[in-house]
Symmetry: C2
Subunit: 142 residues, 2 copies
């Protein structure tokens, strides 16, 4: 019986490496090496309107979502709840055309500058950050 | 031997509730109930300069860090690497005075508007997002 001289396709990816992505990815290994991920393999993606600078939303990317965002011109995320990739605007029509992407100093977040069509928020509002929390400074830190 | 009629202080916090914070917190329970945390109990905190809107950094907050940020006027985070709270500027002098805090629609991120003294980044640069990644749109999404 012949012995295969290479692993079955994908089999070597079943156990992800420590600190590596959970899922197979085509992301440039040099960029992947810079990422510092959450325990579920994600970095935070802060999305802003490229010209006004308005912060529109935060979503999550694994390595492959970042790869698709960098190479397709369309912002692509990983849904933590549905556990699948989603291209912003694919169902809503509220597309995000990627203008630039920056990574932060410690590799746990990216800043995605986009041209946002319509509302960024699924509620229909322009931005997801429309609920203010009460701020006071009357309590001394302990 | 007497049987205590109440748990030893703190003992009931040793096993955190599912989807709850890892550490004891004084955060308003109504706000805590809105949070949707990473597997290690954190939400992303996007920090911007309150007047220019410039995105300065992303850090992480557990419930107690958010409580301190809302009540002390000083941006306070949870360090994933050191596993401790840190008040921005406490050692560097680059303080972040909190002007407002907004929470996003699904509770996994907060937008903290601050008055940033000096550099936000530990490298000495104003913002942590100073490294651009290459963006192209020549590859078709698969």
């Amino acid at each position: 019986m012949p012995v295969p001289d290479a692993p079955v396709t994908g089999a070597h990816l079943e156990v992800p490496p420590p600190d590596g992505p959970d899922r197979p990815s085509r992301l440039d290994p040099e960029i992947a090496a810079r990422l510092r991920r959450t325990p579920d393999g994600l970095v935070a993606a802060v999305v802003r309107q490229h010209d006004s600078g308005e912060v529109l939303m935060v979503a999550w990317m694994d390595d492959e979502a970042l790869h698709r965002t960098l190479t397709t011109g369309r912002a692509t995320y990983w849904s933590r709840s549905r556990r699948e990739y989603w291209v912003k605007g694919a169902t809503s029509g509220n597309h995000q055309y990627v203008r630039s992407v920056a990574i932060d100093c410690d590799g746990d977040a990216v800043l995605v500058s986009v041209d946002q069509v319509g509302a960024a928020c699924h509620t229909g509002q322009r931005t997801c950050f429309s609920t203010e929390l009460p701020v006071s400074s009357g309590e001394v830190a302990s």
